[in-house]
């Protein structure tokens, strides 16, 4: 328990520092976990309490993602999003998977690393777009919708991975039944739900907390993935009053998700036979793969490499979802790789996002200067 309190206190200080420097806090939380945990000082151990808190953090992260899934408001031009989304999926997952497989990871491990390569951190990407005042640039809207596209891909991947070796038909019947129940509750109970959310006392927040945990435990009881059902719960409740649910779920998400990040760091064990060299290659490739996919998207959608550069600069950071995958399906080695991946990409990503505008300006003025130098020469003839 003392370890838990220490971790909490360290996180609070780190949160303040990261807000002051306006860089994402996620890498600091993981680093704090690594320093305090198994791989470092060994002050903080993962125990039942911390595992419970981490689990709640993960559930609320997924619940939030579900709340944000308003598919009816998809981009005006869905074909653009689809093109960009598929380029990202193929390029990033392809590079991640191939590289990991060639470096000696098993097929399954390579697949998880590939997905971790692909899924960016919605939280970091959106926050940096806002903080760097880039919402109006033409690539911003596409980047924002790409985050939603990634969420959908992630849901499909979770569904595929959790189906595993079970009786598929029965498994999917149960999922459909679960989704049906959630739909019925949110559709026919809408007025009741809204009346609860409108209250001033503790009931809305209690209800939100209970809804998420009840759904998760019922899902486990019936042998269907709790992760999927919590996302579905979010999506179903988003049809009632998503803003109110967000407001009531936020405190739980904020606190427990931080615990989730820290204890992910705590459980990382450098002794589990890993190759520093391989990790370094994967981290570099993670930055590089987004450059390739960003460039291709920029050229395909806007016909401009500069747009590609901007897309790259704002989508380098991997974060919460990559870690979630590591926790849910990854081995210890995969966990270490993804921890390194998240730390490196978020730090590089926040730097690039901050300076992409001046980088762009530099490139433009450089090419303009070149054009000026060349023109009198040509016209003189």
């Amino acid at each position: 328990m003392e370890g838990f309190i220490i971790a909490l206190f360290v996180c609070m200080v780190l949160a303040l520092i990261s807000k002051y420097l306006s860089i994402p806090a996620i890498p600091f939380y993981i680093l704090a976990g690594i320093v305090l945990g198994k791989a470092g000082l060994g002050i903080v151990q993962s125990d039942e309490i911390s595992q419970f808190f981490s689990e709640i953090g993960l559930l609320f992260l997924l619940f939030f993602m579900g709340l944000g899934l308003k598919l009816d408001q998809m981009l005006a031009d869905p074909s653009k999003l689809l093109t960009a989304g598929i380029i990202g999926l193929v390029v990033d997952m392809g590079i991640g998977f191939t590289a990991a497989y060639l470096l000696g990871f098993s097929l399954m491990e390579a697949f998880i690393i590939g997905v971790a390569f692909y899924i960016t951190s919605t939280a970091i990407v959106i926050t940096t777009l806002i903080e760097n005042r880039k919402l109006m640039m033409k690539e911003a809207e596409l980047i924002i919708w790409l985050e939603v596209f990634e969420d959908i891909v992630l849901i499909i991947i979770i569904a595929l991975l959790s189906s595993g070796d079970k009786d598929l038909l029965f498994f999917f019947l149960k999922i459909v039944l679960g989704l049906g129940i959630l739909y019925v509750i949110s559709h026919y109970g809408k007025e009741f739900l809204v009346s609860i959310l409108d209250r001033d006392d503790e009931t809305p927040i209690l209800f939100t907390f209970a809804a998420v945990l009840t759904t998760a435990s019922l899902a486990i009881l019936f042998g269907i993935p709790d992760t999927l059902m919590v996302i579905a719960l979010g999506a179903a409740l988003a049809t009632t009053d998503p803003d109110a649910f967000e407001q009531h779920a936020r405190p739980f998400k904020d606190v427990f998700l931080v615990m989730f990040f820290v204890f992910f760091g705590v459980t990382i064990d450098f002794a589990s036979g890993m190759d520093l060299y391989a990790i370094a290659i994967l981290c570099l490739l993670a930055v590089f793969s987004k450059l390739i996919s960003g460039m291709l998207i920029g050229l395909a959608i806007y016909g401009s490499a500069l747009s590609g550069l901007e897309i790259w600069a704002n989508t380098i950071s991997r974060g919460e979802f990559s870690i979630a995958l590591a926790v849910l399906y990854g081995s210890a080695v995969v966990g270490t790789v993804i921890a390194a991946l998240v730390i490196v990409t978020t730090l590089v990503g926040s730097f690039m996002a901050k300076y992409s505008t001046s980088m762009r300006r530099g490139i433009v003025s450089h090419s303009r200067r070149k054009a000026l130098v060349h023109r009198p020469h040509n016209s003189g003839r």
């Binding site: 944000g68 899934l69 408001q73 806002i130 109006m136």
Partner: protein, 164 residues
Amino acid sequence: MSPMALRSQNLPGVGTKYEFKTDKGDTVAIFFTRTGTIQMYTLQKGCKTPSAAEMTPVEARRLGNILTGAIIEADQESVEVAFSALADLRVTIHTFYIPKAIIGKTIEDLQIRAKTGATVIAVSRHDHNIINPSPSFVFEDGDAVLVIGESDQIKKFESEIMVE
């Protein structure tokens, strides 16, 4: 997009975006973000990079007041005072320059208190002030009035009396 067409859009995770193009081809975009701040971008016609300002809700409201023409004085447009000892009594004091429409009319003609609940407590005219003007007080061009009341009453005063 036709000029002045206002486009609003929900961006997942970000908030609501409002955008419109002016007659001259400049673009203004406002984002009400989830973090509670409001970002305003302006993009001059022919330019590639917009400039941006980030505001708190209070600052945004102040800007809105300026743009709607309600506030002429830059500094003391509105003050709200709360008296916590008196059951949290809140009064707002607001300055307005009178519109052309009410020149020559009296406070009684306009039925200010009956219609809005707010009270004109002072009028500033040519560098001198008239405190507690009587109901028969006649407004002249260039008068600035100081109005006191609850914030709802002030809003009502603004919408009912301060119209062109």
